[in-house]
């Protein structure tokens, strides 16, 4: 039965990008096609300036694309951004929290923005604060928190409204080993519960160990995609993801 459930989940498309384009001074995203399935942990990797963050900012409705389509859990995100945002969570590398609020107040605010029942929001908040080791600090203002604690508060804010699609931009940057493990554990739990996680990272070991599939993006286009084995096949190498990644990016640049 678990296998059947997994297959059923993967048959649904959590995110479909078609011909996505965004140009600033130069094309940042250049006709990107990408499909992520429900219940999948997808890592998007690429060199600096490859277009990863721009892509995710368009998916989360923070940037409007010049062309292309974005479909999130069957919802056309460009036609109905509010409905798309209702099922999505966004965590950036700069923790998006308020210094003068406590984690408890922050999560209450998030619950209000996502129109949650306060009792459900509170139950979720308490559970997340507990899992992320923030309960002793639940009523302290975030202004005195370390980078890791701030990032965990932001993650709790992203998960408290039970999003179907969790989008994270470099969520592990600057975290110590213990905090990074807590974050990874929480994300894995969500994937096992049927949610979809899309994450950009520069830490290729993390992508290698955590992701079901990896997409490599360069110059705004997807240059390779698949499991680690599939990526190895494409390059004819059998080393680490780092070796494969460097080969693919060098080939693209040549």
């Amino acid at each position: 039965m678990p296998l059947v459930r997994s297959l059923m989940r993967l048959s649904t498309i959590a995110l479909a990008l078609r011909g996505l384009r965004k140009t600033f001074d130069r094309p940042a995203v250049d006709g990107l096609d990408l499909t992520v399935y429900g219940g999948e942990f997808y890592a998007l990797v690429g060199p600096n300036g490859a277009g990863k963050t721009t892509t995710l900012r368009m998916v989360t409705g923070l940037l409007r694309p010049d062309a292309g389509s974005i479909v999130l859990d069957g919802i056309d995100a460009l036609a109905d951004p509010i409905a798309a945002k209702q099922v999505t969570a966004w965590v950036s590398d700069e923790s998006m929290i308020y210094d003068k609020l406590t984690p408890f107040e922050y999560l209450e605010f998030v619950g209000g923005l996502w129109r949650m029942d306060p009792r459900l929001a509170e139950a979720q908040a308490r559970e997340l604060l507990d899992i992320l080791g923030l309960m002793p600090h639940a009523h302290e203002r975030c202004e005195g928190f370390s980078k890791g604690m701030r990032q965990k508060v932001a993650l709790a804010g992203a998960l408290v409204h039970e999003p179907k699609l969790i989008i994270l931009d470099e969520p592990l940057t600057g975290l110590d080993a213990a905090s990074a493990r807590q974050v990874k554990t929480v994300l894995h739990k969500r994937v096992r519960a049927g949610n979809t996680v899309i994450m950009t990272t520069h830490i290729l070991d993390v992508a290698e160990r955590m992701a079901d599939r990896i997409g490599i993006i360069a110059r705004g286009r997807l240059i390779a995609e698949g499991t680690l084995k599939e990526l190895h096949r494409q390059t004819g190498q059998s080393g680490t993801l780092e070796d494969t990644f460097l080969t693919l990016v060098a080939t693209e640049a040549a």
Partner: protein, 508 residues
């Protein structure tokens, strides 16, 4: 070139930082604005000279034979000006204590900490003195042009006032550190700076109201009681005023005493400055616990946003002191309102525009904080709420705060005149809404800590906000007076809003 680590070398470093800080404050960090700033400053200087000519030229003939009432008026002016300098110096000293930027570098370097902080205190003094001299220059220039070079001694007095203001600010801040500790000093010093900035003006106005029922600043100072109890003409109390009038001995005494007070303060406190700065740096990373609430409260999206804005503002004492500074100036008109109950429309005509203008200015500051200085803009934009609803919630938060502050005044007025109260309430609402719309039109993403610089990020917004508030204030005053001419300033205010809409940057 001075030797590295010497006082001269450190002073050059501090002056460079001061210069760049000042430049950034005026140009909002944009290089291409430098030429515009120079032109604007030149225009401002010329305009200030015209204003000074209108304001003080009639006093150019006052000389050393002046009687006690004249000396009282002059000394009163100096004290009021000094209170503003003290406020400015206290803010600078507090910022120097709590800015962590290079503290660790300085304290881990092999340079004498005492020397570094002595130079830093001197830098604050130089900034305060320069500000004082620049602000006084148009008035002194006009007096010297009309009444002779003897008036140039006023520059020395003003510089001395700046030096003493810095010394007192240093002593007050260090005393606060010792009395209440590093944690509370910041809050108290910031509020104290704001209160001092307004206190003397307010105190004189309150005294004037009680003595003659008018808002004239010097009415109380000219009263018989004050003149009768003033020190004798030969006493040192009048030296600053006599120095301004051209007494060279008094000028030398004032300047020497000011320099001695400043140098003495620096020598006395430079060693402790480092200890207190370290203590202050440690405070910012401490945990602040809030009252534990047991349950999440139900809220619509807009209510959640409004609640968040109010909570953030309430918890930032620096912002509270900066924004409430404008409200402090309302105390005298509120008092006037209270003691002139039942005197008919005349009093209303005086106080309604003051309150309406203050509301407009306060709303502008609050609107900047809620609309431009959102700490987590991406997070809020990623929520399932339409951008229009986010803006509406923020506007409601601003208007709500303004209403909370000003509603008691309107209600008090309603007890005497419902018509005047309605006019006041409408004036407050419209002026606040206009300032908010102007901030909305020129919104740029910023940090709350940049509040002091908000006026330089868009000068058009600043001027539009000021002129809009003035116009609505004039309209409210004329409406209260019962004349249909109130439509004229109202039309000007609407034209300002129309102009803002035309020239504001386009939005996606």
């Amino acid at each position: 070139m001075s030797q590295a680590g010497s006082i001269a070398w450190l002073a050059a470093h501090e002056l460079r930082l001061s210069w760049r800080d000042g430049l950034a404050l005026m140009t909002a960090g944009r290089r291409r604005r430098a030429i515009n700033v120079i032109i604007a400053l030149a225009v401002f200087a010329v305009a200030m000279h015209f204003f000074a000519n209108w304001f003080v030229s009639r006093y150019a003939d006052v000389n050393l034979s002046a009687d006690v009432p004249v000396l009282i008026a002059l000394t009163g002016t100096l004290i009021v000006s000094w209170s503003l300098l003290l406020s400015q110096a206290m803010e600078s000293v507090t910022r120097a204590f709590y800015a962590r930027s290079d503290l660790e570098l300085i304290l881990t370097s092999p340079v004498s900490t005492r020397k570094v902080f002595a130079v830093r205190m001197a830098r604050i003094a130089v900034s305060t003195v320069l500000l004082a001299v620049l602000l006084a220059a148009p008035f002194v220039d006009v007096l010297a042009y009309r009444g002779g070079v003897r008036w140039l001694g006023a520059f020395g007095v003003v510089a001395g006032m700046g030096a003493v203001a810095t010394a007192v600010a240093l002593a007050l801040t260090i005393a606060l550190f010792r009395l209440v500790g590093a944690k509370r000093t910041r809050l108290i010093a910031q509020i104290l700076a704001a209160v001092i900035g307004a206190a003397f003006v307010i105190a004189l106005q309150v005294a004037a109201i009680f003595s003659s029922g008018s808002l004239s600043r010097f009415a109380a100072l000219q009263s018989e009681w004050v003149v009768a109890h003033a020190p004798g003409l030969g006493t040192a109390f009048w030296w600053p005023a006599r120095a301004v009038l051209g007494d060279p001995v008094a000028l030398i005494a004032v300047m020497a005493a000011s320099a001695a007070i400043l140098i003495g303060t620096i020598v006395l406190f430079s060693r402790r400055f480092g200890d207190h700065a370290l203590a202050a740096a440690g405070v910012s990373s401490g945990a602040v616990r809030q009252r534990q609430r047991s349950r999440f409260r139900a809220a619509s999206q807009r209510r959640a946003l409004r609640r968040k804005e109010w909570m953030l503002l309430r918890r930032d004492p620096w912002l509270v002191s900066q924004t409430l500074m404008q409200v402090l100036y309302l105390l005298p008109p509120a008092l006037l309102l209270w003691i002139t109950f039942g005197d008919g429309n005349e009093a209303f005509v005086i106080i309604i525009p003051v309150i309406v203008m203050a509301a407009g200015q306060l709303a502008g500051g609050l609107a900047w904080l809620t609309i431009s200085a959102e700490d987590a803009p991406d997070f809020v934009m990623s929520a399932p709420i339409a951008p229009r609803s986010i803006l509406l919630a923020k506007i409601e938060a601003v208007i709500g705060m303004v209403a909370m502050i000003f509603a008691p005044m309107a209600l008090l007025l309603a007890l005497d005149s419902v018509r005047a109260s309605v006019i006041l309430a409408l004036g407050i609402l419209i002026a606040s809404a206009s300032s908010t719309l102007i901030q909305l039109a020129f919104r740029v993403q910023a940090k709350r800590s940049q509040f002091r610089r908000r006026q330089t990020s868009s000068r058009i917004a600043t001027f539009a906000e000021a002129f809009s508030s003035i116009s609505w204030a004039a309209a409210a005053a004329m409406a209260a007076d019962g004349t249909w001419f109130f439509l004229l300033p109202a039309f000007v205010a609407l034209a300002i809003l129309g102009g803002v809409r035309l020239i504001s940057p386009p939005r996606d």
